[in-house]
Structures are given as C-alpha cells and as structure tokens.
C-alpha cells in the first residue's frame, strides 16, 4: 500500500532530523539538518511540486544550511555542552512530540481531507504557471504584502548594518564594508 519511495524519503528526513538533534558534533548536526531539508524537498517532488522542491533545495540547503554551518564553525563548540542532558526531560520531550504528532494526525484524519485522498492521487498536478498567474491576478494583494514585508526586512537589515553610532578606525573601515556587503 505505502509507496517505498515515500517510506525511504520519510526515513531519511526523520532519521536525519534525529541525528541533527542527537549528535555531539555540531557540524554533523548541521549537515544532518541539510540532509533533512533535502528529504523535505523530496516530499515536494513526490507531491508533484518540483518548483517548490527546487526552491526548498536552493534556499534551505543552499543558503540556510550554509549559514548555520558558517555560524557553527565560528563558535567554540565545547562551551555549549557543559551540562549533561536529563533523561526525564528527554523522555518528556519525546512524549510531548508524540502527543502533538498523534493529535495532529488524528485531526487530519478526522477532517474532510482524508475522504478526498483517493481523488488526489488521480487529479492533475497544479502547474506552477497557474499559481503564478493566480498570484498576479486574484491574489495580488497577498503578493504586494509579501513584497512589502521582504523589502521592509531588507531595508531594516541595511539600516542595522550601516549603524553610524559605531566608530571605526581607518583600518576597520574595510570591516564595516564587509559587514554591509555580506
């Protein structure tokens, strides 16, 4: 009944996520996180959404994972792991996760989505061109709001990077430029 590719991708995603949490080496955790995100891109491919899958890879693996690895490399890792984790807390966390996942799954099964599942398999996948067209016509206010939010955050980032209350020496002027251009 279950698709073997789906099971493979699911095992990869969940397994990499568990490795990302459990490993003692931060750098391996970051790599496992990237693998987990690749697995999510695999889910998008299985759901006939290659456009989203490619952006998942380009943004999450190509940018976010690189950023995390970059940060991990520049941080002294020993300082972060001085306390041993509590077994009780771990068990409670796993139990909480299970409860949330089971209740979410039960909600989805109880909702109307489950009844249509058989039809979803046969129905035509929605083309990304169609989504783009809808985005620019009927849903254009959403697009405008998203664009404004992104522009606002970029301007805020530039304003933070160009702070003039930090005095720099003539030598540090270069550094300032780095911080801004990155």
């Amino acid at each position: 009944m279950a698709d073997p590719v789906f099971i493979g991708v699911a095992v990869l995603t969940v397994g990499a996520a568990i490795v990302a949490l459990e490993t003692r080496e931060l750098i391996y955790g970051a790599i496992a996180l990237a693998v987990s995100m690749l697995g999510i891109a695999g889910f998008f491919l299985l759901l006939d959404a290659p456009f989203v899958a490619m952006f998942q890879i380009a943004v999450y693996v190509g940018a976010v994972a690189v950023l995390i690895i970059f940060a991990v490399m520049l941080v002294r890792t020993q300082a972060l792991f001085t306390t041993k984790e509590d077994k009780k807390r771990k068990g409670a966390g796993i139990a909480l996760m299970l409860i949330i996942m089971i209740s979410l799954g039960a909600l989805l099964l109880a909702s109307g989505l489950n009844g249509q599942f058989g039809n979803f398999n046969d129905s035509e996948a929605i083309d990304f061109r169609e989504i783009g067209q809808q985005m620019l016509t009927y849903y254009s206010p959403t697009l405008i709001i998203m664009a404004l939010t992104l522009a606002g955050s970029v301007i805020a980032a530039l304003a933070l990077a160009r702070r003039e209350d930090i005095t720099t020496t003539s030598d540090g002027g270069e550094e300032q430029q780095h911080g801004r251009t990155d």
């Binding site: 790599i31 490619m54 693996v61 690189v66 690895i69 970059f70 251009t181 990155d182």
Partner: protein, 423 residues
C-alpha cells in the same frame, strides 16, 4: 638491465605461463561465464531481427554485425546511455580533459611559452595521461586532526554535484539525461551545493589556509549567485519556460537571445567565472596569498577529483551559456541525410539531426570555454572588497536593466507568443 634468478630455465618460464593460462581458463569457465549469464538473464534484452535476444545470441554478437547494430541502437535509447555516455558523464569528462590540456597550451602560447612538450612527442598530447597517472600513484595525505569522514566525502560529493548539473544539460534534441520542467531552477539549486562543499572541506582540513579560502569561496559564491540567477531570468522572460530544451526551441523559432539580452549574457559570463573560481575571481585559491586556498591540504587523487569536478563544472556552465544565449544546438545542416559505409552498415545508428546538433553544440561550448580560459592569461586577481562590491552592486543593477529590456520586448509585441520576430 633487469636481473633474473640464477637458476632460470626457459622451460620453467613457459610452464608457469601455461599454468597461468590454465587457471584463467578454469576460473572464466566456472565463475565468469555463469556470472555473465546470470546478469544477462536479469537484464531485459530487446528483440532483434524479429527474434527474442537470448544471452547466447548476445554473446555471439561480436561476430555478426547485423546483430550488433540493433543491440547498440537499443542501448543508445536507454537512460543508462544518456546518463553515462553521451550528454552525461563521459562526454562531459572528455570535454573536461580536453579543456585541461587546451588551457595549458593556450595559456603557454599567450605568454610566449611552449607548454607541455615531452609526453607524447607531438606537442605533449599525452601530458594529461601522465598527470593522471601521477595523481593516482601519489599518496593521499590526510592532515592530522582532520575530520576524516568529511575530508573523504567532500571531493566525491564535488564531482557528483558537478555531474548532477551535467545531467540536466541537453546536448541535442532528445539527448538529455533528465528533462525536467523546472530545469533551469534545478541547475541553480544544484549549483548551490558547491559553497557548502567548499566550506565543509576547508573546515575538515583543519588548517588555517584552507579555512580562509573556504570563507572566501562562500563569500564569493553567495555574492555572485544572485546576479547569476537574475541574468538567466531575462532569458526565462523571453522564452516563457524554465525547461532548457524549451529555451533552445524558442531560440530556434526566433533568434539567439544574446542579441536581445547582451547585458545578461555579460553578467552571466562574469558570474560563471566567479562561480568557477577562475582568474580574475580565484580568491579562494589565491596561490600567491594563501598557498592554494581551500585546496591546500588536497593531495593525490583528492586533488584530481576536485580538478575533474571543477572542469566538469566549467563545461556545464559553458553549456548553460550556450543554451541560454547562443541558441543551443541550432546551426546549419552539415551532415548528409544518408550515409553509406563500406563493410558494416551503420545507417540505423546514424541520426543526421543529432549529429548536426552535437557538432554545433560542442563547437559553441568550446568557444565559450575558450572565452572562460582567456582571462587567466590577461587579467590579475581582483581585491575581495572590489569583488563583493561588483557582485552586490553593479551586476545586480545590470541584470535589472536587461530584465526591463526583455519586458519591453515582450509587451511591445516583438518577442513572445505571436511576436514580430517569431518565425
């Protein structure tokens, strides 16, 4: 003179050879042939000349050309051929090998040197084989304190990611390993893995020069990724598709996009030089500043793999330039429609369209590769702040100019569906 043992007897020498042949025959008969038959039993074979192809007929194909040609024809349509041979890895690796040799000779001629000369007598054409043998024979030294799993995996991942880009490149109509609907996006998504690999490898080397080089590679590749994608965007606007085959077809229907998007082509060329870490953007490997950058700790075949990967990447980006701006495989017909060969009739294998397309695609790709090699002979390395400034401020603005030109062309009714210049 090689020395030989004192009690050497020619008869014993011949006897030992005979023993060797005897054992080889025994092993081939008892192990090799059954193994071949087991494999052939599970591999689906095509019907040939109206009869089902059995493993026996398959093994005897070497003596009967009328059986060989259909089998080859069948395998040329399989995915394995697409991935491993023609538009895939072998073709790309061959072009990469030729590029390495041509680069050395070309740069030597530009600088009034001779270049590789001795290996192979004629202009040193076997230099690459000699280099390859040297790299294979050399010891691979893993630095102490290196992160071994990443250190070993990164070079392999580098080649694999470069080959994955090649799999998306169509070299002739129908000859592409993965003809996906979002091909161009997939190329950029896969190219995004390179900074990750460079950074991980430089960190795993546990040495300061690789780490500086890796950070530089990250800065540079991320700074140039945005103009890289934006420069391809005007082509997507003009052709109305993300599929690489579709982009080439829309250029065959109108004109090459380099005439409509010259600024984008220029930005794409500059950004691909930066992605490839070629001079003048070779800061991650700046050999006069940081030894060899993120490749400092590579030795032997690890260096060989990264070189192979980077030259395959060179081919992939040059091919992408050809597909986006130079009309892909479009070109006048030079091959005859029918050919006749004397002894073996290879006419069923002959496809004039594919041959023509391959010729023009290869020629154009090589032209672009030469253009990418050219700056190495004439340009110095640029400073990192100028590099970042170029990437973030100048190139992005330039691409936007061409995007607006493309939009004007489409809304003015010159290109796009039903445009003036569309045939």
């Amino acid at each position: 003179m090689a020395s030989y043992p004192q009690n050497f007897r020619f008869g014993e020498f011949v006897g030992s050879l005979l023993w060797l042949i005897f054992w080889v025959l025994i092993i081939v008969t008892l192990v090799g042939l059954p193994l071949v038959f087991i494999v052939l039993y599970y591999v689906p074979l095509p019907p040939i000349n109206g009869e089902v192809l059995t493993p026996f007929l398959f093994l005897t194909m070497a003596v009967d050309p009328s059986r060989t040609i259909p089998i080859i024809e069948h395998f040329m349509t399989t995915d394995l051929f697409r991935v491993a041979a023609f538009p895939g890895f072998t073709y790309a690796a061959l072009i990469a090998a030729v590029t390495i040799f041509v680069e050395r000779k070309f740069l030597a001629k530009m600088q009034l040197r001779i270049g590789p000369l001795y290996a192979g007598k004629i202009e040193g054409i076997f230099q690459l084989i000699a280099d390859g043998l040297k790299l294979i024979a050399k010891e691979i030294i893993v630095p102490s304190g290196a992160d071994k799993p990443i250190f070993w995996a990164a070079p392999i991942a580098f080649v694999a990611v470069a080959a994955a880009v090649v799999a998306l490149i169509p070299a002739a109509p129908g000859y592409v390993a993965a003809d996906v609907d979002v091909g161009l996006l997939a190329v950029f998504a896969i190219l995004g893995f390179f900074p990750l690999i460079a950074l991980l490898f430089s960190w795993a080397s546990n040495s300061k020069y690789p780490f500086i080089g890796g950070l530089r590679a990250l800065h540079q590749m991320i700074a140039f990724e945005i103009p890289f994608i934006l420069s391809a965007l005007s082509v997507v606007l003009l052709s109305g598709t993300l599929n690489l085959t579709g982009i080439v077809n829309s250029q065959i229907q109108s004109y090459w996009f380099i005439f409509f998007a010259p600024i984008s082509a220029f930005v794409f060329y500059i950004s691909s030089l930066a992605e490839l870490e070629r001079i003048p953007f070779d800061l991650p490997e700046a050999e006069s500043e940081i030894v060899a950058g993120w490749l400092t700790e590579t030795s032997g075949m690890i260096y060989g793999l990264i070189q192979l990967g980077s030259y395959i990447k060179t081919y992939a980006l040059a091919a992408l330039f050809v597909i986006l701006f130079l009309g892909g495989w479009a070109g006048p017909d030079v091959f005859p429609q029918e050919i006749e060969t004397p002894i073996i009739n290879i006419a069923p294998l002959y496809d004039p369209v594919a041959a023509n397309a391959t010729l023009w695609f290869t020629l154009k790709t090589f032209g672009v590769i030469m253009l990418m090699l050219l700056p190495r002979g004439i340009s110095p390395r640029i400073r990192i702040d100028i590099l970042l400034h170029t990437g973030w401020y100048k190139l992005i603005v330039l691409t936007f100019i061409n995007i607006f030109i493309a939009l004007a062309l489409i809304y003015g009714g010159i290109l796009g569906p039903g445009g003036l210049l569309v045939r």
